[in-house]
Structures are given as structure tokens and as C-alpha cells.
């Protein structure tokens, strides 16, 4: 009796990893999925926070893909370990603060550790040569194998025919003839294969699945590092960068303004950690203050809070101020006009 070989598949929730996994299942390999949560995953969060997105499907695509494939999925929290990838990427960043090549090396390394712990035989990914400008190029494919430590235990079924044989192919666990030769950014071969495999629905995330590829998000993270004087972050920092309007009127503080009910509710969870304020004479958003602020700064922040309230055209707006460790107090302020808010304050 032959031993059924076991592979772990990096499941992002997109089409390519879905197809790569199905290709292995079709060859009789036992496959389980693994999905790494870095804290920067677009999946879920933004939909969950904003009330206006309430009607959008909130499915986690990695879980959904695993269910379509009929495989188990292991979701692994790598938030802390991942910091070093974001803060010190050996191969640098892409067009924003996206360390794609280091990220892929990290994830394959984690998958390699996982297969050793769980007695699996090899790793598969949905990588395609030329698909991504930084991490999925012909010259970076061997870098990922080498730096992850996975070496020839890493099989990319969708472009395997362009790559040297891996151990699963040499050993005959996988038939190389039934692997693929996809290249480039076009999606037609994948969509045709999806149809051939019987998949009618699949996620096609536009612009990737990581906030670090987003210019606006990266700018806010760069601002955070610059004004804190160190390139560090905690999970709450990176979550808050996804929510609200961020304005930095002074180098030593910024404010985060909820844009709607869902965001205000999310920000309410941070009231104990931050100085915060809310307008009481008029409906308005919850405003968190991140940094240090003297009385003049608090006055300015309150005038900004008033600006984003329904009293923006009123002569005076009452703002309830909650400074950390102090009793709440009220300030009566004149809302800033739009002309008094320089464009450069917006992050």
C-alpha cells in the first residue's frame, strides 16, 4: 500500500491558491490549508467596522475557500513575529510599505516549521511567475525557497513547469505532467482552470489583500513611526490606522475622528486608552487624541471635533473632554472653518 502524502497549502482566499490546492487534491494528495494573520490583512476588518458596509458579505475568504475545497484550515496569529518583517525588511519595500518578498519568505518559513511539527511532506503555494512585481518573479522564486529553508519541499503547481523539479515531483508523489505553466499578470488561464475544476464563484481581490500595499494606509503608518521617533507598532496602532479620519495638527499629537456610527462604536472601545472628546450640544463623532496635548492643543482638538460635528456652522459648540486620569470637563469652542484646516493636517 502506498502512503498518502500530505501537503500544507498557503491559502490566501484568492483564486490562485484555491486552484493550486485543487490541483494537488486531484493528484490524491491530502491537503490542509494554512492562513497567517499578520494584522494587516484586509479580510474582514473594514467590512466589520463600517456600518455603511453592513450589507456587504463578511465572509472570510480563506475559510470560504477551504470549505469549497473540503479541506481543513489552520489560521495562525503571527502578529508579533511579523513586526520584524514590516520594520526591517531585508529586501526592502514595494511602492508603499509592503515588504512582499520578505513576507513571502516569512510565510513559507512558518509553513515549513508547521510541516515539520505536524509530520507533513511538503508545501504548496498559488504563486505564478510574473504575477506580482516584487515577490512573484522568476528570480525571486529561488530566493523564497532558500531563505524560507523550505528548499525543494516548496511546490508551486501553477507555474511548476517553468521551475526546477521539486522533491514531491522527483519522488513521484506528484505527476509533473499534470502541473501548469502559467506566467504573467493575465488571469485568463486561471479563470479557464477554475471553470474546468467546476468553481463558479471565487474571490478576486483587486489590489491585493494587505493594507501595506495601500498608499493612504502606508502614509499613516509612516507618520506614526516618524512622530513617535521609532519604527514600532502594537496591534491597536495598526487597527486604528484602518479607522476614521486622521489629522495631525501638531507634531506631538494627532486626532482620529469617527466617520460614522460603526467607526464611532469601534473607537469607543479605545476610550480608556486615549484622551477623547465628543460634542454634546450637537450630534458629532467620537474623537480620540493620540499623543500629548497642552491646554492650547486641547482647545484646537476641540475646535476640530466641533468642525466635524453637526454644529460646524454654529457660533459655539460644547465639547465634553475626557483626559486620561482626570475628571471630564466641558469646553465651549468655535468650530474651525474649512479654510482654517490646512490640507497637510490630513493623513
Amino acid at each position: 500500500m502506498t502512503t498518502q502524502r500530505k501537503a500544507v497549502s498557503l491559502i490566501s482566499g484568492g483564486l490562485d491558491s484555491m486552484l493550486a490546492t485543487q490541483a494537488m487534491l486531484d493528484q490524491g494528495i491530502h491537503v490542509e490549508g494554512i492562513n497567517f494573520f499578520t494584522g494587516f490583512c484586509v479580510e474582514g476588518h473594514t467590512h466589520a467596522i463600517r456600518k455603511k458596509d453592513k450589507a456587504k458579505p463578511k465572509r472570510n475568504n480563506a475559510l470560504w475557500v477551504a470549505e469549497q475545497l473540503g479541506i481543513k484550515l489552520h489560521i495562525v496569529d503571527v502578529i508579533d513575529e511579523y513586526k520584524d518583517v514590516v520594520i526591517n525588511p531585508k529586501h526592502g519595500y514595494g511602492s508603499n510599505l509592503n515588504p512582499c518578498l520578505d513576507c513571502k519568505c516569512f510565510m513559507v518559513r512558518k509553513a515549513h516549521e508547521w510541516i515539520k511539527e505536524h509530520d507533513f511532506d511538503f508545501i504548496i503555494t498559488g504563486e505564478v511567475i510574473g504575477q506580482r512585481p516584487m515577490s512573484q518573479r522568476r528570480d525571486t522564486m529561488p530566493v523564497i525557497q532558500r531563505e524560507s529553508g523550505a528548499e525543494d519541499l516548496l511546490l508551486r503547481p501553477l507555474c511548476a513547469k517553468f521551475l526546477p523539479e521539486t522533491l514531491p515531483e522527483r519522488e513521484g508523489w506528484v505527476n509533473r505532467e499534470r502541473l501548469y505553466d502559467f506566467t504573467g499578470r493575465g488571469r485568463k488561464p486561471q479563470i479557464a482552470l477554475a471553470a474546468a475544476m467546476g468553481f463558479e464563484d471565487f474571490a478576486q481581490p483587486a489590489g491585493g489583500c494587505c493594507f501595506l500595499t495601500d498608499a493612504a494606509y502606508s502614509n499613516k503608518l509612516a507618520d506614526l513611526w516618524h512622530f513617535r521617533g521609532e519604527r514600532e507598532y502594537e496591534i491597536d496602532d495598526i487597527m486604528l490606522l484602518k479607522v476614521g479620519r486622521h489629522l495631525r495638527p501638531r507634531p506631538h499629537f494627532k486626532i482620529i475622528v469617527g466617520r460614522e456610527e460603526g467607526e464611532n462604536r469601534f473607537l469607543e472601545g479605545y476610550r480608556k486608552q486615549f484622551t477623547h472628546m465628543i460634542t454634546t450640544s450637537h450630534p458629532g463623532p467620537l474623537v480620540l487624541l493620540d499623543g500629548t496635548a497642552n491646554d492650547d492643543d486641547l482647545q484646537l482638538a476641540a475646535r476640530l471635533a466641533a468642525r466635524f460635528s453637526q454644529g460646524k456652522n454654529a457660533d459655539s459648540v460644547r465639547v465634553e473632554l475626557h483626559e486620561r486620569g482626570k475628571a471630564p470637563r466641558e469646553l465651549d469652542v468655535t468650530p474651525l472653518t474649512s479654510d482654517e484646516i490646512p490640507e497637510g493636517w490630513y493623513l
Binding site: H45, N60, A62, L63, W64, I71
Partner: protein
């Protein structure tokens, strides 16, 4: 068989799923786990995770701003 609780409030998906997954690994087949969350995504994700992992969803309900999902731990493979 015993009943357990997990507070996953204020966590955004997939963290409630990860916390549920990790807690279930410590429990015995037949044990029940009540997960309290605030992220509406959990209403979809925890049942999906149960289906692919061989655990049983016993109930899910919303109470004020909380979502309470009860899972029965399935047999280990």
C-alpha cells in the same frame, strides 16, 4: 464534558476564529464553548470554521451589541 466561555469582544475577524480555534484545541470532544464577540463577521466565520473542522454549531444569537456563539467540540481525527 464541561462548558467553557471565551470573551472575544472588541476583536475583529479573524481573531475571534483564531481564539476559538486555539481554545477548542485545549478542550475535550463533547465539551461546549460559548464565544462572546462583537464583530458581526464572527456570525459567518465561526460557523464556517466549525463546518470545516468537524465541530458542531449549537447556537448563535445577538444580545445588545454582543454576539454569542456556542460550539460543541467534535472528535479529533
Amino acid at each position: 464534558m464541561s462548558h467553557h466561555q471565551l470573551d472575544a469582544r472588541r476583536l475583529l475577524c479573524p481573531m475571534p476564529v483564531i481564539k476559538t480555534q486555539n481554545r477548542v484545541q485545549e478542550l475535550q470532544p463533547g465539551d461546549t464553548l460559548e464565544v462572546i464577540c462583537t464583530d458581526p463577521g464572527a456570525l459567518h466565520d465561526i460557523p464556517a470554521w466549525c463546518r470545516i473542522s468537524g465541530h458542531e454549531l449549537l447556537a448563535s444569537r445577538e444580545q445588545d451589541h454582543d454576539i454569542i456563539i456556542t460550539v460543541r467540540v467534535g472528535n479529533r481525527d
